[in-house]
């Protein structure tokens, strides 16, 4: 069995973090969980530690992309063979993780993205809000295709897995939410074998709004000049 590290970036997620860790633990006892507490002001770090995860602490909030980078670098140093990115808000299902890492362990892919837009045979569908599904994510898909050369069904997925080699190569610099698109662009740029698999996302809130999409574009634009 490959050494699998689940990286969970968390910012003020004390309401959900314990159940997220327990769900992942129930899916497999073999996986190692790393929670990166991104400067939370609540009990996220303490609860994650109590639930059995390794906790890395950002002294100040740096954004999801930065927290994932810290967790991924830790996993590489700790000898991970597979690195999985997973949200801390309880919207992802731990039951999807085996399907996300399966193409990696089978050697069929180096990077796997979970997609809310693909449906598994007989599987549940994600309850994506209509405006988000058809307008925000539709536009994001178009922008990814035109400007980044990325043609994936889900343009902003937070559930992804890499082989160790891919995790080393995917050196993303975006600290905030633009890391999603940057990781996809880097996977294409590095000619890594990419696969999408269906995942189910349960929306407790609307999540990223249209303004968030504009912010991502701004971060990406600035990122071009700060390299």
């Amino acid at each position: 069995m490959d050494k699998v590290f689940i990286i969970i970036p968390a910012y003020n997620e004390s309401a959900a973090i314990t159940s997220v860790i327990k769900d992942i633990r129930a899916a497999s006892k073999e996986w190692q969980m790393v929670v990166v507490d991104d400067g939370s002001s609540d009990r996220t770090a303490e609860l994650a530690e109590t639930a059995g995860a390794v906790v890395l602490r950002h002294l100040v909030n740096r954004g999801q992309g930065a927290a994932l980078k810290t967790g991924t670098e830790y996993a590489i140093m700790a000898g991970a063979e597979v690195v999985v990115h997973f949200d801390a808000d309880g919207q992802f299902s731990a039951a999807d993780i085996p399907a996300v890492i399966a193409p990696l362990t089978a050697g069929e892919a180096q990077v796997v993205f979970g997609s809310r837009f693909l449906s598994a045979p007989g599987g549940k569908k994600s309850n994506i809000p209509w405006f988000k599904k058809h307008v925000i994510l539709g536009l994001a898909r178009l922008i990814n295709k035109i400007f980044l050369g990325v043609s994936l069904s889900d343009p902003q997925t937070g559930c992804r897995a890499f082989s160790k080699e891919a995790a080393v190569k995917l050196n993303w610099q975006q600290d905030k939410m633009a890391h999603c698109s940057e990781i996809m662009r880097l996977a294409v740029k590095n000619n890594l074998r990419v696969r999408e698999v269906p995942i189910t996302v349960v929306y407790h809130s609307f999540g990223q709004h249209f303004s968030g999409g504009v912010k991502i574009l701004e971060e990406f634009f600035l990122g071009i000049f700060t390299k």
């Binding site: 990166v36 740096r62 700790a78 600035l222 700060t226």
Partner: protein, 113 residues
């Protein structure tokens, strides 16, 4: 020279005097002093040569007057400075992230089994 140009030049001379005084008091470093000196001298030249700018613009086929041109130019320059500032901030944010990451990883060294 029109009254407006004289007023404009008087304001620029006031700011030039301020720059020189700040330099004398060591409140500006060399790079800042050079920048502000060049900035106000160029602004002074643009105001003094407003009629020539008018003529040059007309020869180039533009209908705008020299003062309008200077306004458009100043807006473009302001946008540029804001962009530079934003870039500087983005770079600093990146540096902060590097420090925060190093501390986070240093606090919990990975146990390679």
């Amino acid at each position: 020279m029109s009254l407006q140009q004289i007023i404009g030049l008087a304001i620029i001379i006031f700011f030039l005097a301020r720059v020189l005084s700040q330099k004398r008091k060591n409140q500006l470093n060399a790079a800042e002093f050079n920048f502000w000196l060049a900035f106000w001298l160029i602004a002074g030249a643009a105001v003094a040569l407003l009629k020539q700018i008018d003529r040059s613009l007309a020869q180039l086929g533009f209908s705008a007057s020299g003062i309008n041109f200077l306004l458009y130019l100043s807006v473009a320059v302001l946008f540029y400075f804001i962009f530079r500032l934003r870039l500087q901030l983005a770079k600093m944010e990146g540096e902060i992230t590097k420090i925060v990451k190093k501390i986070a990883l240093g606090d919990k060294p990975a146990d390679k089994k």
